[in-house]
C-alpha cells in the first residue's frame, strides 16, 4: 500500500485517488487518435508519469494542454486520474517523468506556491474553501498574493455569483453545497490568474448556476485566460470546450475538439451516458 503512516485523518481529505485497477471496463487506447498540436500551448503537462508518495504510477505518459484563450476539458471514468493529473500540473505530487511548462517556461521544479505566484489558479475537487472564514475573507485569501486594490475584482465576483454578495459575512462552512462551489471558483478568480484550473466546478450546482458558471467560464476564457477543467457534466462541458481529453486509467484515451468527442459514438456511449 502507498499508505503514508503519518497521514491519517488530517490534511487534505481528498483521497479521491489510488485505484490501481481503474474503474471502467475500457481498455486504454494507445495514444491519441487525432494528432494534437501543443506547440503554442500556454500551459502543458507533457508526458506526465506520476503517483502518490511511494505508491504505484497513477498517470502514465499523460499529456494535457491548454492554449491561450481556450477551454480544455478533461473527462473520464471515476478514478481515472483526472484529479491526479490536475494536481500533477500544479506540482502537488511527485512527477516521475515528463514536464510542466507555463508560457514556454519549464516550471516542473517549482513548488505549488511558486506556481501561484507565476499566475496559476486552482480549485480542487473537495475541501476547496476555508470553512471557518466568511465568504468575503475567503475571497480576500484568494487575492493573498496580490498587493493591489482587490475591490474591483471582488465586485466582479459578486456580480457573477450574486448569492455570495448576500452571504458575504456568513461563514463559508455554513453554505450549501452549490454555494460553496461558487465561493471556491470566486476565490480562484480573485487571484487574477493567467491560467485557471478547475476540478469539477459544477459538481452539485443547480442547472441555472451551472449555466451561469459555464457562461462565465466562456467569458473569462474569451478575455484570453486559458481554462483547464475536469468535468463530469461532460456533455455540457464538451459543448463549450475547445479541446477535450478523455483519460482512462491514467492514459490519454481520446483527445480532440469538444465537438469531435461529442460526435464520437464510442466516447458518447462510454463516458457521456449515451
Amino acid at each position: 500500500m502507498s499508505g503514508n503512516p503519518y497521514q491519517e485523518g488530517r490534511g487534505n481529505r481528498d483521497h479521491s485517488i489510488t485505484n490501481p485497477k481503474g474503474t471502467g471496463t475500457l481498455q486504454p487506447s494507445p495514444g491519441t487518435r487525432h494528432p494534437m498540436s501543443t506547440a503554442n500551448a500556454f500551459l502543458i503537462g507533457d508526458s506526465m508519469t506520476a503517483g502518490y508518495g511511494k505508491g504505484p504510477d497513477i498517470l502514465h505518459d499523460c499529456t494535457i494542454a491548454v492554449d491561450p484563450g481556450e477551454i480544455a476539458v478533461i473527462v473520464g471514468p471515476n478514478g481515472a486520474g483526472k484529479s491526479t493529473a490536475m494536481k500533477a500540473v500544479f506540482g502537488m505530487l511527485d512527477m516521475r517523468q515528463g514536464s510542466v511548462r507555463l508560457d514556454g517556461e519549464d516550471i516542473t521544479g517549482l513548488s505549488p506556491q511558486d506556481r501561484v505566484v507565476k499566475g496559476m489558479g486552482f480549485v480542487p475537487q473537495t475541501s476547496n474553501i476555508f470553512t471557518s472564514m466568511t465568504v468575503q475573507e475567503n475571497l480576500e485569501m484568494g487575492a493573498f498574493i496580490r498587493r493591489d486594490d482587490i475591490r474591483g475584482t471582488m465586485e466582479q465576483v459578486f456580480d457573477l455569483f450574486p448569492i455570495l454578495r448576500d452571504k458575504r459575512h456568513q461563514a463559508a462552512g455554513e453554505l450549501s453545497g452549490g454555494q460553496r462551489q461558487q465561493v471556491a471558483v470566486g476565490r480562484a478568480l480573485m487571484t487574477q490568474p493567467k491560467v485557471l484550473m478547475l476540478d469539477e466546478p459544477t459538481a452539485g450546482v443547480s442547472p441555472i448556476v451551472m449555466d451561469e458558471l459555464f457562461d462565465r467560464i466562456i467569458e473569462v476564457a474569451r478575455t484570453g485566460l486559458p481554462i483547464l477543467m475536469v468535468e463530469q457534466n461532460a456533455k455540457q462541458a464538451l459543448e463549450i470546450a475547445d479541446t477535450g481529453y478523455v483519460l482512462v486509467q491514467g492514459r490519454n484515451a481520446y483527445s480532440g475538439t469538444g465537438k469531435e468527442l461529442l460526435a464520437d459514438p464510442e466516447v458518447r456511449k462510454s463516458f457521456l451516458g449515451g
Partner: protein, 262 residues
C-alpha cells in the same frame, strides 16, 4: 408513507427550511430538486434525525418519527446517503458494506468470546452479500482497498452500496450523481429503478442532473427558500415559470461567443 407537516428549521436567524409540507407515497421514486441552498439537504437531515426541527412534524406510516435518532430510524427501514461522501476511511470497502446490517450477533461482546462459530457463519453470508453488491455497482476491484483511498465517485457508489446491504423501506439519496461519471450514473439509475421495482424500496432523490431525474423520478418536488415551490411530474415542473426562473434557467447565454472563439 412519509408525511412532512409544516416543518421549520432555523439556524440562528436563518430559516433554512421554512414551513415545508410534503408527502412521499409508498413505492415511488420522488425527485427533490431546487436551487442551491433551498434547504433540501437540511430537510433530509431533519427527517433522518441528524438535526432537530425547530417546529413541525414528520410521520412515517402514520407513526410520529420527529426527532428520533438516526440509528432508530435505520432499524425502521429509513436509510440515507450523504451529499459529501461519509465513508469509513480506514476500513476496506468490503468492510464498509459488511458493517451495515443491524443485529449481527457478532456485535455483542459476549458472542465475540463465546459464540464464535455462529459469527463465522454470519460473516460468510455477509461477505457474499457485500461482494454481490459491489459487483452490481461495478466496483468489485476496490473491495480490498481502504475506503479512504478510492476516488470521489467510487465513494459515492459505496454510499449507495451500503443502502443495498439491508432491506430498506425508504432510501434518501442526496446527490448520488455529483462527481459520478455519467455512464455510471445511468447504470446507478437503472439500479435504483430495479430496487424500486423488485424490492419495493421507496426513494427520495436529490439531484441536479435533469436527465437523471427524467429517467427516474415521478413525482418531482421543487423546493426554494425552504418551501415547496411546485410538485408534479417532471414535465409539469419543467413548464413551471417559477421553477425555470429559480432553478432551471434558460441555457447558456454565451453560445455566440463560443462560435466566435472557435
Amino acid at each position: 408513507m412519509i408525511v412532512v407537516d409544516d416543518l421549520h428549521k432555523h439556524f440562528g436567524g436563518f430559516h433554512a427550511v421554512d414551513g415545508a409540507s410534503l408527502e412521499i407515497a409508498e413505492g415511488t421514486i420522488t425527485g427533490l430538486i431546487g436551487p442551491n441552498g433551498a434547504g433540501k439537504t437540511t430537510l433530509f437531515n431533519v427527517i433522518a434525525g441528524v438535526l432537530d426541527p425547530t417546529s413541525g412534524r414528520v410521520t412515517m406510516d402514520g407513526e410520529d418519527i420527529t426527532g428520533l435518532p438516526p440509528h432508530t430510524l435505520f432499524h425502521k427501514g429509513l436509510l440515507r446517503t450523504f451529499q459529501i461522501a461519509h465513508e469509513f476511511g480506514s476500513m476496506t470497502c468490503r468492510e464498509n458494506l459488511m458493517m451495515v446490517p443491524g443485529g449481527q450477533s457478532g456485535e455483542t461482546l459476549w458472542n465475540t468470546w463465546f459464540g464464535r462459530r455462529r459469527i463465522a457463519d454470519e460473516e460468510r453470508a455477509l461477505r457474499a452479500k457485500a461482494d454481490e453488491v459491489m459487483e452490481f455497482l461495478t466496483i468489485e476491484q476496490i473491495a480490498d482497498l481502504k475506503a479512504g483511498q478510492v476516488s470521489g465517485g467510487q465513494k459515492k457508489l459505496l454510499e449507495l452500496g451500503r443502502t443495498m446491504m439491508v432491506d430498506a423501506k425508504i432510501v434518501f439519496l442526496d446527490e448520488v450523481g455529483a462527481g459520478v461519471n455519467r455512464t455510471l450514473l445511468y447504470t446507478i439509475a437503472d439500479a435504483i429503478k430495479r430496487l424500486n421495482e423488485e424490492r419495493g424500496y421507496t426513494f427520495v432523490v436529490i439531484e441536479h442532473d435533469m436527465e437523471f431525474i427524467d429517467r427516474l423520478c415521478d413525482p418531482v418536488i421543487c423546493m426554494a427558500e425552504g418551501k415547496v415551490l411546485a410538485q408534479g411530474t417532471l414535465d409539469e415542473i419543467k413548464a413551471n415559470e417559477q421553477v425555470i426562473e429559480a432553478y432551471l434557467g434558460t441555457g447558456l447565454k454565451n453560445k455566440d461567443k463560443l462560435e466566435a472563439g472557435a
